[in-house]
Symmetry: C2
Subunit: 183 residues, 2 copies
């Protein structure tokens, strides 16, 4: 059969593509970049896959499948047990598919590497340090990162609260993440 679904080259392409997508983003990575990383021609890429999109989709497929399983599993739980199961399931999922998650978020680091935004990286690092109460303990640094990621996501969705209420919930819950009580 032509285009063996499990050929070695296919896997090499998927691996190289996911590595590049993770650092430069999907749009920021060209077929030429992938071909160079694999060490083949663009035409070879397009022999194995129907297009650039198909590479992305097949790369994300296992993660999407696992997400689908979690989705179905949570659907069968009662309201009082579903919340903690969702937390555990979600954490497991993201830990298991780091590479794919990084691809989804991959255009942000690429953007922050813009020369004009060079200072921002330092600011972010120092903000993280403050959020960790200047602790060098890994768990403190992890929770600081969590707060860093938690807040923007909220602000991108239109909320059913005014900004003052929203601010209050954000600050209190972030303190909960860090396991501290506010001043």
């Amino acid at each position: 059969m032509s285009r063996n679904i499990r050929s070695r080259t296919r896997r090499e392409i998927l691996d190289a593509a996911s590595r590049l997508f993770a650092v430069a983003g999907f749009k920021g990575t060209s077929l030429q970049d992938i071909a160079a990383e694999v060490g083949c021609s663009k035409a070879t890429l397009l022999y194995h896959f129907d297009g650039k999109d198909a590479i992305l989709v097949e790369m994300l497929a296992p993660a999407v499948g696992a997400f689908d399983m979690l989705d179905k599993q949570l659907a069968g739980l009662a309201d009082d047990t579903v919340q903690f199961a969702a937390v555990k399931g979600y954490v497991d999922l993201v830990l298991r598919f780091r590479r794919e998650i990084t691809v989804l978020y991959g255009d942000i680091p690429a953007l922050l590497e813009h020369p004009a935004l060079a200072d921002v990286q330092g600011m972010v690092d120092r903000l993280l340090d403050a959020l960790a109460a200047r602790s060098s303990e890994p768990p403190a640094q992890v929770t600081a990162l969590m707060v860093l990621g938690a807040v923007p996501v909220v602000c991108m969705k239109p909320a059913a609260m005014d900004d003052d209420e929203l601010r209050d919930v954000l600050v209190r819950s972030a303190a909960g993440t860090l396991n501290v009580r506010g001043a």
Copy 2:
């Protein structure tokens, strides 16, 4: 003087660009798109700005400036007071510059709108529902969003912990965000 720094057209361009960047991402938006949104030609864009990058940089400038102020302010605080001040300052900053934050994260929604990933949106919505313990209260939905955003950021940075420890910190801290104790 040529290229008046506060011309009306300049502001219109910045506004149109930020709107487009927020939904399609920086790389996903072309000068042609911006020109069409403003109702002018690409050449006009490039008369007012030194290039596409310059539009992005000037658009983010106020947010970067405010971040810089927070940065300096936190630097003057003692270790025991800096953490909560960082939480409040960060929340304020993000709430104040929603549009700019959305631009930074803009390529993710664009990616999730890919036809092949259509199912994922529904899964995300149901996961959020589960993380909120199926509550329709706005604060519960906000904390669910926080957890959704918190976990991936951690997994993109190499951590000084093994995966089991990391999982434990993530689950416990996410429970802290949601203000629930685990089963």
